[in-house]
Symmetry: C2
Subunit: 280 residues, 2 copies
């Protein structure tokens, strides 16, 4: 084809990522956001919400494995897990790989995301087709955690960026409710954007979560289709320290990025990232 | 300014990175390549060769620190260092931070790169203004190493991509000559592109270098302005293993990314990267 079609995401006001596309499969305005599914040549099929890359077939494994397995392998017995957001199902697909996980609840506000993922990304949505461990709730994660008390071992906040429907998932009141919804040995983890372009946000979230959870740690992974490629996750834990987990105790799950050594090393931060977290 | 000007690099035939620019400072056709200097809003000043990002003010520290300090801290006494390419001076600036380095030779084929860096990137080019440890040679690095015998403790191959003037720096004959140019305990390191989009190249280079150096290791860093953000370096060593260096033995240099723990951590590869290196 001589006519090249490209999708461009303005990742910041001053930075854009563009991907050559071969097909536009779906686009709709849901009650919450604009949802698009496109086929890209470099990253395979891609899910966009409000014009922002949520996930792609070829690099989704990094984000989904790293947001899930670190907390799940830090908790000695993560029986009951909650994923807030993450309607594509990639995170919950990783959760149910854990033998100890008995129940994984997905709380996604936009049922059209779940629909689109099942329709167009069956590999990512694999655990959304009636998996015995999975319960799907369509609703507001903020309200849901308000009503939960000491119910979950692990809560994963698999949100969009802190704009639009995701904004409440970056507030201290929300983390307070997450703390309340966790059992006494519970662990939360949230995606917290890029150290290169979101340093102020990361600093604030780390301070907020540190004020609520006695153990708070930041870790990193490289997600090519997210702004700058360097992506942070902030983990808050009531008891267990993710950097104290014996590597030998971590099972080697069926993964492409995460491993027991990657777990340990994800917490080793480049000096400029460490500096973001230091009190000023 | 309402008129937005953007620079776009087609990083692969199917992937592009764009940066809003505030100024075009310089552009010329040198005998070897097209050289441009632009001011971008997100990454500060940027050096382009043949339309490809070489370095930017804001993220240069990652690449320059990681291509230098890993080998320099693996060798117990790196007195004499050679940098091939790297005419911007960022790599040699890192080399001369080491107390043990007595002489650092820069061999850059294109003197206009050296000129442009001194003119527009004085911070990156800091060691090119008559530093007592630095010797600048304008010439072909391939020919230069052919003529060297057991001269250097560390050789750093700070090349462009394997197209245009950089292509010969990715050939096994070149690595043979680098081996010959190194002392009996010498170490080489080369930038070897992205595991996400250059897996075949990385596999071939790792095999080539493994055939010449008894210790060959790949390590990673996240460089936002390079394709996919995930960047690999391949280190070949005659004696010393970079993963065996005692963390406590590594001094903490004046860096923003590299640290003794980052040194160790950089060799822990995500499983899909490890898989690229496994014999098939």
């Amino acid at each position: 084809m001589k006519t090249e079609l490209w999708y461009t995401e303005k990742q910041t006001p001053n930075l854009a990522l563009s991907c050559k596309i071969s097909n536009i499969l779906h686009t709709e305005k849901t009650p919450y956001q604009e949802l698009s599914v496109i086929d890209t040549v470099e990253w395979g099929r891609m899910l966009l919400l409000d014009g922002v890359v949520m996930t792609t077939e070829k690099d989704e494994f990094v984000y989904h494995e790293m947001i899930s397995h670190v907390a799940l392998n830090t908790h000695p017995n993560p029986q009951k897990v909650l994923v807030i957001g993450g309607g594509d199902g990639g995170t919950i697909r990783e959760c149910v790989k854990h033998a100890q996980v008995e129940k994984a609840v997905l709380c996604e506000i936009d049922e059209r995301v779940i629909w689109a993922s099942k329709e167009y990304f069956p590999g990512i949505a694999a655990a959304l087709f009636g998996h015995p461990k999975v319960e799907i709730r369509v609703g507001d994660g903020i309200k849901f955690v308000q009503e939960c008390n000491a119910e979950f071992d692990v809560i994963i906040i698999d949100s969009t960026d802190p704009v639009g429907p995701g904004v409440g998932l970056f507030q201290p009141e929300f983390y307070q409710n997450v703390h309340k919804a966790l059992k006494p040995e519970g662990i939360m983890v949230a995606q917290t954007e890029s150290p290169f372009v979101n340093a102020g946000l990361i600093r604030r979230l780390f301070r907020d979560i540190s004020g609520i959870f006695p153990v708070t740690k930041l870790y990193l992974a490289t997600v090519p289709t997210y702004p700058t490629g360097l992506w942070s996750f902030t983990l808050g834990s009531k008891v267990y320290d993710p950097t104290d987990v014996a590597v030998s105790r971590i099972p080697e799950p069926d993964t492409k990025y995460y491993s027991s050594l990657v777990h340990r090393n994800a917490f080793v931060l480049p000096k400029f990232v460490q500096a973001i977290l230091e009190p000023r």
